[in-house]
Symmetry: C2
Subunit: 395 residues, 2 copies
Amino acid sequence: MQILVLGGDGYLGWPTALHLSAAGHDVAVNDNFARRGYDEEMGVDSLVPIATLDERIAAWKDVSGKTINAYVGDLCDPEFTHSMVGDFRPQAIVQYAEQRAAPYSMIDQAHAVYTQTNNVVGTLNVMYAIADTDIDIHLVKLGTMGEYGTPNIDIEEGWIEIEHKGRKDRMIYPKRPGSFYHCSKVHDSTNIEFGCRTWGMRATDLNQGVVYGSDTEQTALDPRLATRFDYDGVFGTVLNRMTIQAVLGHPLTVYGNGSQTRGLINLVDTVECIRLACESPAERGEFRVFNQLTETMSVRQIAETVAREYPGDCTIEHVDNPRVEAEDHYYNVTYQALEELGLQPTLLGTTLIEQLFDVVERYKDRVDVAAIRPTVRWRDTTSQLHDPSGTLAKA
Amino acid sequence: MQILVLGGDGYLGWPTALHLSAAGHDVAVNDNFARRGYDEEMGVDSLVPIATLDERIAAWKDVSGKTINAYVGDLCDPEFTHSMVGDFRPQAIVQYAEQRAAPYSMIDQAHAVYTQTNNVVGTLNVMYAIADTDIDIHLVKLGTMGEYGTPNIDIEEGWIEIEHKGRKDRMIYPKRPGSFYHCSKVHDSTNIEFGCRTWGMRATDLNQGVVYGSDTEQTALDPRLATRFDYDGVFGTVLNRMTIQAVLGHPLTVYGNGSQTRGLINLVDTVECIRLACESPAERGEFRVFNQLTETMSVRQIAETVAREYPGDCTIEHVDNPRVEAEDHYYNVTYQALEELGLQPTLLGTTLIEQLFDVVERYKDRVDVAAIRPTVRWRDTTSQLHDPSGTLAKA
């Protein structure tokens, strides 16, 4: 089928485009390179060197013989978005093209507003492009498990049957997002559910856990096909960051007491989930929600796993939690739907972590140690982009 | 106390400012005159002639001896918003300054995006101004009953105790908004609840029913103090529109079968609710939600009430519903909190409707008959601003 991957130059978008192309789909990617721009702004860089989008696409042609088309432009430009969808006429659109770091959205007013307008307006424009072009185009939208927060009841897949004063209804699962970024994903879900209910749109909202890993079957074929690997305090996810700390001989930093529990998923499962969702589209008018994770672990357990598996010495250090989030909370998540579609989970094991240690070992000279520290505190509302005194990290 | 009324030049904002000033508070208003601009854009006008903000403020000084300060500017400009809050240093901020018409938000992509960015960014900037100036400033935010939709269970005041698989939590009441405008109010609520939970903000979110009425005790004191009265298919609310149809001898138009039930509130109760909310602020960190209505009626019952009370002949006509909304639905709403604070409800009665008939009679020469028809259909996504063929109204 024809699949358009928005944000196709990013950590997940690029491997997804390769995976879909390898599976025989006709793939196009869109990007405005905002993610590469954040690197410039924050003075950080991917641990693994990455090629330009043109180089990546040429490399994939060399390796596989397959063509991926690129549409370079900003989804916040409605005419660009409209003409791209009309030109490529996809059956499915995978929407990764959002600012995706919670700490980035909490830097200050400007970053909060940027995150919300970029994410919400971009997705609204995609919805209008679908409605105007062909309402049967299936929107596969990346959300996050962080939209739910940590409620004291089981987390269901997007909807919940509520019984109240002797009556019942099936309702959207109430959200408790953990940052302005997470709020933006809740806003998207609100808009998309409305589009399904009102226009008859088909949508799958994927509430994804924390992704870890550096390679898929396709990215490993050629260094020019590598995807980015972020480890900094703003864009780095917890497991990737801890493997770097281990290799450098630094203590693994755990925010707070580390009892915060999170859903996890390996990069190879992420790309496979997208394929499964695209190949089994939502019904007309259906707002379908899947929780996209394969296991749950506390941050402390993640640190203990990394420390145990690392062949050298490794210690764990608890630092003041820069975020405002619950510790010692209940956490029980339903995630059946993707396995029912055929997902074979790749659980966190020794092999996977070893592979990560290898990647980090290979590129450890590129690590900027200062970038690993948490630099954004949730309770500070004034600009935290540059912290000359270094007090944030010391606190 | 010092109270800043955002959107203080609007239908509700202006009478609220007068009511708070009359009650002895030190009031300032903010507006960017966007609402007057929509009149220009849509080619419509308030039935009741309204003075400029400067004239209004001068008239209030003449009549009462009291001063209302004005801050003219756009809340989407963060520096303006920040310096206004820092300059006036209010104890409470009443946030009316949002695009408030569901049909306007459904005209096309540009109006949907405008509504959501204007509303969400403006309110985010107010939140940052509060957090940076004084986290104890109480945000009194106008929401709408249309955020809830028409669930099959009772509608509670913003929060609901959910029992699920043997466990319990108090959670945000799940929303089912009826337009991109209603979605924007849900986004605001999501952001504000996060601000309360994370920064310790104090907020009251008022989910208001459909407002009707043209005068308050203060606006009636001088014609220069009058507030706007909208009756057009985009900005007019149902009861105000029907009184015009009655006076003109037109059939009262009911969308669909008219069984859709809505919460109602009189303008005089709206301004009193705001006073009560300001004078009893939310606790630190509390996201307090009140349902701001005094009775519920179906659209058909509203039409029947107008027809019964109108002294001349009056008929009711059912037209195809331009919106996508449930008819024949369950609707039972809790609205205790404001009465517990002291609200004495002004229920829809003969006197109130007679007063409305009088207003319309006085200004009926100003009515643009063509503007009354519904011109925006929820299922059409391309521009519906100008409909040269007139097919929308005929359908």
